[in-house]
Amino acid sequence: MTDRETGANTPDPTPDGGTDPTPDGDEDGGEPESATGAVIDALRENDLGLVITTLLLVYAGATLLTFTDGLNSVFGLMRTLTFLGLVYALSALALNLHWGYTGLFNIGVAGFMAVGVYTMGIVVRSPDPAFGPPGFGLPLPVGIIAGMAAAALIGLLAALPALRLKADYLAIVTLGLSEIIRLTLQSSAFDTFLRDTIGVGTGGGRGMGMPSNPVRELFLVDGRAGDPTAFGELVFGTVGEGGLGIANNIVVGWGYVLVLAVFLVGFYVLLERLGHSPFGRNLKAIREDELVADSLGKNVDLIKIKVFMIGCALMGLAGILWFGSQGNVSPTPQFMPLLTFYVFVAVIIGGSGSNTGSVIGGIVFAAVLFEGPRRAGSAVRGIIDAPTPQSFADAVVSLDPVAFLAFATDNVAPLQFIFLGLVLILIMHRRPDGLLGDRIETASAVDLSERSRGGDHDE
């Protein structure tokens, strides 16, 4: 019956190029039945396995680069790569909600991150600090929530006029806004203005010291090195300098990485649930064709504003978790549009529209494209026993491959961009949908590959 129907439709005036639709339910066989217990689902579908495999490959590479330098180098590099991978994954997940799910071309990620981390800093910093700008002196959780709220609010301000425009205008508005935010934070006049009016400051171009990291205080009394807490004693005694011999500050760093991993799971579950729901379906419909969503009774503008605010709040939180743990933030090197570009690359590599893809994209970007080349370059440079030529011309003229390699490995930073470009071209060409972009992410809270009723209550 069904085949006859299909057959009847084939000689249509508008044939679809031989894509004879056949019943093909198997395709959805591996899709999440529900976002509930997304972690368990992820485990079952090996998404978690995929992420762990990616991490293990990264660790293997890190070990290969550093094993000659001892345990601390290995674990130190692993920690750095995991940290960067996780913060890029967090940012990519937030951006994926905008770009992957809803098709909102937000290229102001860096600005929203800056708003998050600066608001957190201002709210938490002591009103009477030894140095740097004063703050409100409120507890850290208040600061984090305030940071997210401020990012969402700035997002709302950007969204109200921009979302009624076409996608490319939203891009221009968000890019402009992100630069306005950066330059405002940079401005000493704004700093002075804030100090004069509400008694807090941004620190201008010199930046702002971040509140002490509670994870560090878990290990060390008041965060002072060499003064461990009871918990710190225990951990340092087993895996740290008193046990396996890993430097205590690397152990503390790993502690923070674990916290990031918990946040990543939280982001993932939240976004999976959002995606696998009627709300997510509306987002997908807006991405595909706004007018259809509108004509079916969906308040497109309101949905866009909501999702923009949610995404911006998550970007704010990602900014706090990332830059808030770095001791000091300053607007200019840290919140340049380049950061937004990097996060986009992570989303594109992973495959926009897929949350697991964003996580893997974040890890792969951070390890292979961002941090990897520098480390690999310096490792290779360490082996080469030759002076570095003065200039590229000298390196070429010398006709000595060793000298050329020495020059290349000593100048990895610019080469890194060429490498990044090549990888992007390769991905666009070979896998335009990214590593996991070809996966079907069904926007429904129930399994759509089968018709059975009520079988999906895993609440």
């Binding site: 129907e5 679809d16 649930r273 729901s277 997908k284 079907i440 069904t442 429904s444 759509l448």
Partner: protein, 293 residues
């Protein structure tokens, strides 16, 4: 049978319409229609739409009766699609009023109009290509509790969302069966043929649980077998008290299927009546059929 409403009070254009309309003075019908509001879900009064200096619709007025299958025809450029877009809120009318269930919906957003039970399909099918056929259908139901982001993510509330989703899924399957495209349920909509997309569009419109459906050339580019199937479904739905307004290019389809036909010409309603009346109307023959013959 005339249902033209020459409301000359606020629109000078209407006078012209009234002059053009031999049956326009039949105010008894109009009075009756006003007394029984539910009898006329859709009423267009003196609709004018200008794009820059071009007047696409120039004072069109008509009514669509409840439970009817009304056809809207006219030569190219008669203003059919523009009228459609004004009714559904895609375009903002330059002048005139549109009433749905006796409520003035002029100037409302498309989503507000759809929420009121007046939903449309598109001339060129606008399937959501990156979504499966089931997702396309499940998108449509109005006021789903899971459309709230908070409900979708909060542990205690999500149970209700999942329950509702199972119900919507079942309804979507039933609708797919009604249109006999259930074998395509998990297919991505972009893989469907032109005709299947038209079926999908209509199925999706019905999933919003509308009172009235505006069909913009639902048969364009559809093969005869599928055309018959589509028309059969429309007739069956009519029996279930759905109201249809059909824009169509093909005179024969309209004449054979619609009990009431509105002919538009140069932005105005040229004639109204049964298929037979229209077929014998000299002005229609001159304006429309004359082109083809």
């Amino acid at each position: 049978m005339s249902s033209d409403t020459p409301d000359t009070s606020d629109l000078p254009e209407d006078t012209d319409v009234a002059d053009d309309e031999p049956e326009a003075n039949d105010s008894a019908v109009e009075e009756a229609a006003k007394r029984v509001p539910s009898g006329v879900p859709l009423r267009v009064e003196g609709l004018v739409k200008q794009f820059g200096g071009v007047t696409a619709v120039d004072g069109a007025s008509f009514e669509v009766e409840r439970g009817s299958l009304t056809g809207l025809i006219g030569p190219n450029g008669a203003g059919k699609s523009t009228t459609f877009n004004c009714i559904t809120g895609v375009h903002e009318a330059t002048a005139g009023n549109i009433y749905f269930k006796n409520e003035d919906i002029t100037g409302m957003e498309p989503y507000q109009i759809a929420q009121k039970g007046l939903v449309r399909t598109f001339q060129i099918a606008r399937e959501l290509g990156g979504m499966s056929v089931l997702e396309n259908l499940m998108l449509a139901p109005k006021n789903q509790i899971g459309e709230s982001a908070i409900r979708s993510v909060t542990p205690g509330l999500r149970g209700g969302v999942i329950e509702e989703e199972a119900e919507i899924r079942e309804r979507a399957w039933e609708t797919l069966e009604f249109f006999e495209i259930e074998h395509l349920a998990t297919e991505n909509a972009e893989n469907l043929s032109g005709g299947q997309r038209k079926l999908l569009e209509m199925a999706r419109a019905l999933m919003t649980d509308p009172e009235m459906v505006l069909l913009d050339e639902p048969l364009a580019g559809v093969n005869p077998t599928l055309e018959e199937k589509l028309l059969d479904r429309i007739h069956r739905l009519r029996e279930d008290d759905y109201t249809f307004l059909l824009v169509e290019h093909d005179m024969n389809v309209i004449m054979n299927n619609c009990e009431h036909v509105i002919v538009m010409h140069q932005g105005n309603v040229l004639a109204e009546g049964t298929g037979e009346e229209i077929r014998n109307d000299e002005r229609v023959i001159e304006a429309y059929l004359g082109e083809d013959v």
